[in-house]
Symmetry: C2
Subunit: 343 residues, 2 copies
């Protein structure tokens, strides 16, 4: 699971022609609820973000305090401009059941929190609750880089690696709501230990935490080659995936080796996805991926060269477009359209 990097951004509102209907008339509210911050926004029917608010999660608080924050923001900031029955969608970092209960949210330390029911009761609006990465996938599909695709895969590479799958015009939830955990495709039998129960997962090579870990190991083995990385970070223990990205951009050979290896594993994972579900479009996003966005075309070529020709003949691999807004936009749109692919 990866929390997409969020940046507060209130999009400029275009001047409206006299007599044109307000975009607020068909808007819905989207919430991206992560372990460190809550991003809330009003999203219109075309996916434009009309207003946003960003709050700290302070996950050590009880769930009710977090629910109160969301309810308070919607009531105090937007209730007077939103239609009374404008729906609210929440993407939450965790496992969500079909009733909108968060079965398990590791970053929030939540177990069996009936988030959908509580929000609906307080706000008296329709509420949809979904996994945050599935929400981000829905956002990129409906209003981002995946518009028009009927079979789509999103892969978000951040601290962790997560994803979402759209099959034949419908978002895939899976039997227990966890579909799309593409960071846990096995790319190397008996490979590096992952943070999940397995080893050799894509995330154990390409997640931000793993890139940092691999970089620190490489510095330990080749201190001379690692000088640039250490100089950027201050000390070996402070080297992160961002350090590697910065050194990579300045042509540091060790960083280049690390990035090439990372991309090699990413190709393995994407080839698996192409052969298994045969999407027309792969959207690549997430904070770490944004640092390497120049590599997306090369990744696409490598995936097409290695995947089954019939499965990849019309495949496009493209960068995400919504950045940190994808989860919020996706949750709002999902709630407004009841998850339908075509509005």
């Amino acid at each position: 699971m990866v929390a997409a990097k969020a940046t507060r951004r209130t999009r400029s509102r275009r001047p409206r022609a006299a007599g044109a209907p307000s975009p607020w008339g068909h808007a819905s509210v989207g919430v991206d609820l992560g372990g460190t911050k809550i991003l809330l926004g009003v999203v219109d029917a075309r996916g434009a973000v009309l207003d946003t608010e960003r709050l700290p999660t302070r996950a050590e608080r009880p769930a009710s305090a977090i629910v109160d924050d969301i309810v308070g923001c919607v009531r105090d900031r937007w209730a007077d401009r939103l239609p009374a029955r404008a729906p609210l969608g929440v993407g939450v970092a965790g496992q969500v059941d079909a009733d909108g209960t968060v079965l398990f949210g590791p970053n929030l330390n939540w177990h069996d929190v009936p988030l959908g029911r509580r929000l609906a009761r307080s706000l008296r609006r329709p509420v949809a609750v979904m996994n945050d990465v599935q929400a981000a996938t829905f956002g990129e599909w409906r209003h981002g880089a995946g518009v028009g695709a009927n079979d789509l895969v999103c892969v978000f590479v951040g601290t962790g690696v997560g994803g979402g799958i759209v099959v034949d015009g419908r978002l895939c939830h899976g039997a227990s709501g966890t579909a799309g955990e593409l960071g846990h495709l096995t790319v190397a039998r008996d490979g590096r230990k992952c943070r999940c129960p397995n080893s050799g997962c894509l995330e154990a090579y390409a997640g931000g935490w793993a890139i940092a870990e691999r970089a620190r190991e490489a510095i330990g083995q080749h201190p001379e080659a690692g000088r640039r990385l250490v100089a950027i970070a201050g000390e070996t223990g402070a080297v992160t995936a961002e350090t590697v990205a910065e050194a990579y951009r300045s042509d540091d050979p060790l960083a280049q080796e690390l990035v090439e290896e990372t991309m090699g594993y990413l190709v393995c994972g994407l080839v698996s996805v192409v052969n298994a579900v045969n999407p027309s479009t792969i959207v690549l996003g997430g904070g770490v991926m944004e640092g390497f966005s120049s590599l997306v075309p090369s990744l696409g070529r490598q995936v097409k060269a290695r995947a089954l020709p019939a499965a990849s003949v019309r495949l496009e691999v493209v960068p995400a477009r919504l950045g940190g807004d994808s989860g919020m936009v996706g949750a709002a749109t999902y709630a407004r359209t009841a998850g339908r692919g075509v509005p």
Copy 2:
């Protein structure tokens, strides 16, 4: 792509109570069209096979001769008992488009053969054409080991490794009709060369051809340890996956090592599938898998131990039930129900 091992089998017909409607009244015809044989059958609404015919494909003939064989069998054997509009479904070893044209059938050496249109014109019946492994998946889902599952994955391990995916009650075809190529999940970056453009594919370890290849290599490296395998096959070059299965059953240590390694790679592939699409049920079939059916429970335990807990908490891994009939039963049922999950 794997051609499921077929055995001719005409199921015994239960005596019908006087006045009960004939099962032929709601039957459809299923055809499993492979590179060496054509299996045809009449399948009733409950998935029972009422009659079958098996013909050699003789793939060196023009496509029209193969179409004539199918048309002839349906007309001569079954037309008098089938309803006039009883549909026909064909599962074909190859890539099929939504119009029923076989874009590419490597074992038949077919390119752009409008199979659906030709059969419909000759038989004056509704015709559905689909990929053979997707047909087998549909068969196991609707009338085999996957009945009742809403999210299902079938993996068929034969000479090759293929599969099919059902997402939220619908068979997944993919953007170009090739979804379910689970033999080409990458399980080992830079691993063994596959027969596809890639290396490190599941099939390059677990497909029948790969098991044979690995066994012959092991014999070359350890001739002493390989004596039992050579004794069974006659010579090293004649060792097949079946040889390995036979030696495994007689507790030969080299065969056991080969099989354990094979199952290890299969676990990697299945864990990837569970984390990516979160099925409630995995059905394992195919000729090679049938030789190791005693290992299915252990495979299931290993997959559950390594997959994400939330993704595998309710997962069941079960052996296929329809054997070599799955493609024929699936194609017939798909045609009769227009691919609907619930009739």
